[in-house]
């Protein structure tokens, strides 16, 4: 891991190292996904994957506000959440390639990475598929009084699924420590959210009595601060919350979604990338605040890049599970 140190502490109550750690995490996600795309274009990865590029600040800001033992649930676009919660890239890549060394012994793949060690209850390929699970984890936390909280990540597409409202109602009735994090990246697969989402997103939470907040999802500091506040409130028994993070996916719905102009313009994509990139924004701030400098950050970038390359190599050379594994783990 990095040995780079920083000289000062940030204004907002947390140590400078933590901001730098968040920087590193965001870079990790970005470069992890670059490798995924590479694996896809080199035809080394079976199937497809949904990249988190552009949305890094959301997962990183929120997971930074969590404890290791806190729970998360994730989505089909889950690599970012998984990394932000602390999983290691080598076993993730191995999973993406269907190798035995993967987090799920190759059985889950990109859309199902789970990791008990970091409280990751799993990515989920059903839109809104994990809202029940996250709420249930919060139910346990409250029942067992272990002080944990659960964060449920989902795309704005999940707002279309009724079960989300069922569990928000339950969570509020029972004052469960769960934060529903809506990542509004403006599109479901190929449809703009205005075509799928009537009314007001936050009002959908407050109608059930939840605390709500919205935040610029491209600003990791804002995400972190807001998440921290909601999470601690919820941890103290304040009940569930809905946090709306406005963000954008830079690339296609999945790695194969190359020609996107029928549903969104190149210009729109470009403006998000050049004007609101979460990594650049944090970098600029760190430099401005003299919490780091461009050399140090470049060193982090390089270090992460080489970590990712090694992780990919590990995964490529790792063996597949034995075929008879197919029949194992059906029952515990």
């Amino acid at each position: 891991m990095t040995t780079i140190t920083v000289n000062a502490t940030a204004g907002s109550g947390i140590k400078a190292e933590q901001w730098v750690q968040m920087y590193r995490r965001m870079v990790s996600i970005r470069l992890f996904e670059e490798q995924v795309n590479e694996l896809y274009t080199r035809a080394l990865m079976p199937g497809l994957a949904h990249l988190y590029v552009g949305e890094e600040a959301v997962a990183v800001g929120i997971c930074q506000a969590l404890r290791r033992e806190d729970y998360i649930t994730s989505t089909h676009r889950g690599h970012g959440h998984c990394l932000a919660k602390g999983a290691s890239p080598d076993r993730m890549f191995a999973e993406l390639l269907g190798k035995e060394a993967g987090y799920c012994r190759g059985k889950g793949g990109s859309m199902h990475i789970a990791d008990p060690a970091t409280g990751n209850l799993g990515a989920n390929a059903i839109v809104a598929g994990s809202v029940g699970i996250a709420t249930g984890a919060a139910f346990s936390a409250k029942h067992l009084n272990n002080g944990r909280v659960a964060v449920c990540f989902f795309g704005e597409g999940a707002l279309g699924q009724g079960v989300l409202y069922e569990v928000m109602n339950l969570a509020q009735l029972w004052k469960l420590p769960v934060i529903y994090v809506c990542e509004n990246n403006l599109y479901t697969e190929y449809t703009h959210f205005s075509e799928t989402t009537a009314g007001d997103i936050l009002a959908r939470g407050s109608a059930f009595g939840l605390q709500t907040a919205s935040v610029d999802g491209q600003d990791v500091r804002a995400v972190y601060e807001t998440a921290k506040r909601l999470i601690e409130h919820s941890r103290q028994g304040g009940g569930p919350a809905l946090l709306l993070c406005n963000t954008y996916r830079y690339t296609g719905h999945h790695v194969g979604d190359i020609n996107r102009e029928y549903y969104r313009s190149k210009q729109e994509e470009q403006s998000w990338k050049s004007e609101r990139d979460p990594i650049k924004r944090l970098a600029n701030w760190l430099i401005e605040q003299k919490l780091s400098d461009s050399n140090l950050l470049a060193a982090i970038d390089a270090e992460v890049r080489s970590e990712m390359e090694k992780a990919v190599e590990f995964a490529i050379s790792a063996p597949y599970p034995d075929v008879k594994e197919a029949e194992e783990n059906v029952y515990a």
Partner: protein
């Protein structure tokens, strides 16, 4: 099989006792469902539990079958052992995603790292004059899904022993109770016992024909067996008790012995549990069968409300008796 001298409990009491004992034994066990607490469910199966275990363990939910089943999946993954109550088996339609895409697959998809030790209790069976949306027996759907275990108790004794096993199991288990059986009495020992999954029970030994019955159909089979006895035909009645795991061996052995089989299951026979049991026996006892395996299940129609119509949709002692006689060449 319980001793003849054991105390008698109703089916509902047996279910309740299993829950109470497991809740006493293990503080992680809790119950979630609609009107389960003070009301003790509309069938009164859970009466008294909230008084003993409190509202933090016997929890009334809103009418959100998908939502609270999903909560149970997550709770099971993180240290509890929830038992969810789905009032009518017809409402499992609303829980299919939670049960099939989530509960059944979590363990496998996570490469064995997460587990989902939960139980869904629900009901099946017609003839209650409840019409098409409150009378279905949909256990075939879950039986089709790897990752789930499916239990179909047919007596108070089995209900208690199998439910205790279900609660202790590390996997999602679906437990179907016949609504019409709740008041039926039977011997249940006071001593602790459990019944393993995947072990069929021969409810009656016979020579000439095997009547395979599940859930509500076991009593019908036994009734038919008595009629057959009078007609000089010795019927064996065998109850698989769990459709998954399935005790294929016991079914096949009985079929080999008698060489004639009728499968009775209150679900639709078409693409149903009876089809699987029939296929298993037709394959496994192929060289010993003297007649085709016959299936008897619900008539392939939505269950009608009108009493004479509804009554015509389910097998009866009489219709089974006649089918068995025909199969034995004695009409």
């Amino acid at each position: 099989m319980p001793d003849a001298g054991a105390r008698e409990l109703t089916f509902a009491q047996a279910v309740r006792e299993a829950l109470a004992e497991e809740m006493r034994r293990d503080p992680r066990v809790c119950i979630l469902g609609e009107d389960v607490a003070e009301a003790g469910t509309p069938f009164k199966v859970l009466s008294g539990l909230v008084e003993e275990f409190g509202t933090s363990r016997v929890i009334d939910t809103p009418i959100s079958e998908a939502g609270f089943t999903g909560v149970a999946v997550g709770a099971a993954m993180t240290g509890l052992r929830p038992v969810v109550d789905i009032m009518f088996g017809d409402f499992i339609t609303l829980t299919m995603d939670q049960m099939v895409n989530q509960a059944a697959k979590v363990h496998y998809m996570s490469g064995g790292t997460w587990k989902v030790p939960m139980v869904m209790r629900t009901t099946l069976g017609a003839t209650r004059r409840s019409a098409a949306q409150h009378s279905q027996s949909l256990h075939a759907w879950f039986s089709h899904v790897p990752g789930l275990k499916i239990v179909l108790p047919s007596t108070p004794y089995d209900a208690k022993g199998l439910l205790k096993t279900a609660i202790r199991d590390e996997n999602p288990v679906v437990f179907f109770e016949d609504k019409m059986m709740y008041r039926q009495k039977g011997p249940v020992p006071a001593e602790e016992y459990t019944i393993p999954f995947g072990v069929a029970d021969i409810k009656r030994v016979g020579r000439d024909i095997t009547l395979v019955g599940t859930s509500s159909m076991v009593q019908v089979a036994l009734g038919a067996a008595n009629l057959l006895e009078e007609a000089g035909i010795s019927a064996e009645v065998i109850d698989p008790r769990t459709t998954w795991p399935l005790d294929e061996k016991a079914l096949i052995e009985s079929a080999k012995k008698t060489s004639r089989v009728i499968i009775m299951d209150e679900g639709y026979g078409r693409y149903g549990v009876a089809a699987e049991l029939s296929a298993v026996i037709a394959e496994g006892a192929f060289y010993d069968l003297d007649a085709p395996v016959k299936r008897m299940g619900a008539m392939h129609v939505p269950i009608p409300f009108s009493p004479p119509l509804e009554d015509a949709t389910v097998p009866t002692e009489k219709s089974v008796f006649e089918a068995a006689r025909a199969l034995c060449g004695k009409t």
